[in-house]
Symmetry: C2
């Protein structure tokens, strides 16, 4: 027994008690004849005091404690003279009569404080010290609570958590698999799952009825900004359900989490928006609905002006930034530069200022009369003092650009408060995406997604217009999760494979065991998966998922702390019947 | 909405209600003008009835439903005439007025019943059908409940579940690692964790204080009877604790599980037994204490008889089988054959019968007087009617053989009831094991295990006698879990590495990042890990862990259902900068 109490629990009511605490030295302050030590553990910080009159040797020893030393303190709880209202233990201090150094510490490479002086690389290399910082640890505490509440809700709803295997089979579809050579089966490989999709569908065939799993998944992708090669999903599936059942169940889950983890009560049903509306109003299938500023289509109002930029455009769209008519030339130039950045790629931006005094200024004033511009304003419900920003071009491209501009304006106007949460469902996704390059359809979700029953007759005649029974949950502009009702009819599944250009042999090779399973009584079923890292990041108010993960990898898929991946012994390679074949210089220069 | 109720919930009180059920056809019975369909889902079985007077077409259709068809039934709940007391829904039946076939099924390759006619291979190949069997599904329901209760207990005790990475670094120590080639870092590999040992210790350095994780671990071993290449651990670690704190906490966990999952209340503390006592009394560090029959050492009583087999033996040990004096020649021969099997390897077995009438018979009667044998009996507390079985030879070898004999006798006498649970702690393990072949010490647990503080002065002088601060939880002869207090002092750790023959460079290469972390204030800490698959198996009363796992692998590490591992595309190999080098025929013939 190293301690009687943690560093976070003693209060004024404990005054007079003899206690033993253990923790890390956060700070040592010598003030005249007294030395104060802030002792820290996961639960809080408690002030320890020594004093030269009471014990000169102890006071001397305390003064020499280094930052991050691990110490055990025995002493008496006493009321503090100058209380600290900022911490829960701020009313008391421990008058020490014994301090034992349990372990020493070298000077850490950065300060262990919420605002640290450590750069990103240093923090990652010394992640075990970075995790001592409350700012990081709190994210992992939140993650723990969320995982627990997710399990509680789903268990109460009759879901069974079933562990699906990690060593599975490579399916050359979608993203790249990580593979694992099998020593016992030379020349053969396992693959790590990109998701337990097929296994959860097999569990439905098995009659498990309601399945979930909080599970690691793996994707060998070139890592973009906020992706990790290993990530965690909340994976769920239900039998004998239609879309409405699934939406109800998982809207309930999200509300449960907000309620029990963040103490936020969502009483109204989450809004539902069709994919088509989301694209039309926000240019995105994951709109940030914490603020309005929906798109307004101006094309009919701009026709025939002779302004070729607009006349030749397939689409002219605008947003109205409230109260921004006073924007300066410089501010407008900044926005123009913003949309012209290569990542966004607009050719230019037009604007109309509806001044508070009723006058109108516009970058396209020479092509349109005030009367015409006023009509635009009326159409867009712009008020005096508002600024209209306009982009034009090909429909889908321009919408995406306008989406970025809208988000930028939302940020500038402070409308994207990370502590405000706006949740909605996006429904009626298209079933297929047409790929110009390969001139074929791809499944937008995956090949097991069921078409909307109303659109089945269009499968062959108007393939691109067929809607999927697929849905996404969107929070604050992030896709929190998504799923679909699956095809359980093998004829319909064969039809889908044909439309996707998969031969029977291909389909059998890739999905054979699932197709075989479906011959033995597959129930109607559907489900979804949430990105757990993202879910935590959203509730933590973080932009990146990285600090929701205890030991993340960097953009090269490298763990800087343990220095992995690394070379392995030749004997290991031989046992595995593989060899390394490094790309030759010749190949590299191609 | 496919159903209003499940197949397990309707009762007499529901009589008269209009309901919709959905599920699988378990059985169809045509009896005169009535057809009965047993409809099954995860929750139970409900009888559906159709009748030619009410609806001839429906009755005809019902008669043609095949086994495992998926159907939806609409009908009225009615009281049954001949009730079935064996099932909770046995008081009612559904008078159907509509039956919709949702999906058909081919005839399954084995019967979907608790006692199936399917062999092992067939069950594994069609695991998704095997999982429909209540006998298998119930194990996974138990697993779910146990996982949930484990999380509940540990969360309530302030433990945080933290996910540690799956893609880590290979450490060429202990069992073989599974490795994962890194595409982005050609020639380099990740390894899958054999346990999160180093990460949990790093989390203690990070001040997480109480950590746990229910986590997949991986070991590329030649699979013995009951091992899986991927298995699940309940991994735990605590800071500022000594052994007593850890034992209390996790004894509490095990009691919590028994209480909330099996409704079994353990009120007394679990017994604790030193490793030395366990070896002396049971010849095993995981004794099955559901029954007594402890070893009795006879060596001092057998000295000088001139019976060379015993005189030359280092150890003579016996067990007393109560009430077995009446064993026939044949039964005794069977036991002799049992201990002489190559897996056990005894040279022979001796016996003494203490007959009910006070007479004595023995296989060694010509070397010992009745008086001498009677002394053996007194020493061993044998009663009239008991049978003494004796093995002799080298101490450790003979104890292991006698252990097997004891377990065999326990089984024969019905003393190993799978529904009775006997838990205990084994403590005071030796810190080191001496390996004759390499003439060096190995860490019995792992190199971070702390020596018993009382034995530290013996580290150099009597290395083999040093006890570890290590402990195992044993239930019914199975090691449920084990752990240790870790070394947190870097000088002591260096000392350990030296004793284990690790050079400083080796230690740095293998455990460098942990050693570095320990320089920054490592708290005293310790923990343990339970084998979760085994834990479930014990509570389910199963001998094997295989049916506690939804999709297990066979002894060649192969998933028979999805047929993994498998070959992968050449393009995948090239991207990963590896090639397959199959062992040549020449090598194979060596």
């Amino acid at each position: 027994m190293y301690r009687t109490n943690t560093c976070g629990e003693l209060r004024l009511a404990d005054a007079g008690r003899e206690v033993t605490l253990a923790g890390w030295v956060q700070r040592v302050r010598k003030m005249g004849s007294m030395t104060f030590v802030d002792l820290r553990d996961r639960y809080g910080i408690t002030q320890v005091v020594t004093n030269v009159e009471r014990d000169a040797a102890l006071q001397e020893a305390a003064s020499h404690l280094g930052r991050e030393f691990v110490v055990q303190v025995k002493g008496t709880v006493a009321e503090r003279q100058s209380k600290n209202a900022n911490i829960p233990t701020g009313d008391i201090e421990i008058i020490a009569h014994e301090i034992n150094i349990l372990n020493r510490s070298e000077v850490p490479p950065f300060t262990i404080e919420d605002d640290t002086d450590g750069g990103d690389d240093l923090r990652m290399r010394y992640r075990y010290l970075d995790l001592r910082r409350g700012a990081v640890r709190r994210n992992l505490e939140l993650r723990h609570s969320m995982a627990f509440e997710i399990r509680r809700y789903l268990s109460e709803q009759g879901f069974l958590e079933v562990e699906t295997p990690v060593l599975i089979k490579s399916t050359p579809e979608g993203a790249r698999d990580f593979v694992v050579p099998s020593r016992m089966n030379p020349g053969q490989f396992y693959a790590l799952p990109q998701s337990p999709q097929t296994f959860k569908q097999l569990l439905m065939v098995s009659g498990f009825d309601r399945y979930f799993q909080i599970v690691k998944c793996f994707r060998d992708e070139d890592l973009r900004a906020d992706r990790q090669p290993e990530f965690t999903q909340i994976d769920c599936e239900m039998s004998f359900v239609d879309q409405e059942d699934v939406l109800q169940m998982f809207e309930g889950l999200v509300k449960h989490i907000f309620k029990y983890v963040k103490n936020i009560d969502f009483t109204d049903p989450f809004p539902r928006m069709t994919w088509a509306d989301a694209m039309r109003l926000y240019g995105s299938d994951k709109p940030d609905t914490r603020f309005g500023m929906e798109f307004v289509e101006l094309k009919p109002l701009t026709e025939g002006s002779g302004f070729s930029v607009m006349d030749s455009a397939e689409y002219v769209g605008a947003i109205v930034a409230p109260g921004c008519a006073g924007y300066t030339r410089k501010q407008l130039d900044e926005l123009t530069e913003f949309v012209k950045r290569p990542q966004i790629g607009a050719k230019g931006m037009m604007w109309v200022k509806f001044e508070a005094d009723g006058s109108i200024k516009s970058s396209v004033g020479k092509f349109f009369t005030d009367e015409q511009l006023r009509k635009w304003g009326e159409h867009a419900k712009a008020n005096p003092g508002d600024l209209m920003l306009i982009l034009c071009g090909a429909t889908m491209t321009t919408r995406k650009q306008l989406c970025e501009l809208r988000l930028e304006m939302g940020s500038r106007l402070g409308l994207r408060d990370p502590q405000k949460f706006s949740c909605l469902w996006i429904i009626d996704f298209p079933l297929f995406e047409w790929d110009e390059e390969t001139q074929r359809f791809y499944a937008m979700h995956h090949p097991f997604t069921s078409p909307n029953p109303d659109d089945i007759d269009k499968l062959d005649t108007d393939t691109g217009a067929v809607r999927a029974t697929a849905y996404d949950m969107v929070v604050n502009g992030n896709e929190l999760g998504g799923g679909s009702i699956r095809i359980h009819d093998s004829e319909l599944q064969d039809h889908m494979f044909r439309l996707l250009g998969l031969s029977e042999a291909d389909a059998q090779y890739k999905f054979g065991f699932l197709m075989n399973a479906f011959k033995y009584g597959a129930p109607p079923h559907g489900g979804l998966a949430f990105g757990f890292d993202r879910f935590v990041a959203i509730l933590a108010g973080l932009d990146s998922i990285r600090d929701t993960i205890a030991f993340p990898k960097n953009n090269s898929g490298r763990d800087m702390m343990i220095d992995a991946p690394a070379e392995i012994d030749r004997s290991q390679l031989e046992e595995l019947s593989i060899d390394v074949v490094l790309p030759s210089a010749e190949n590299e220069s191609k």
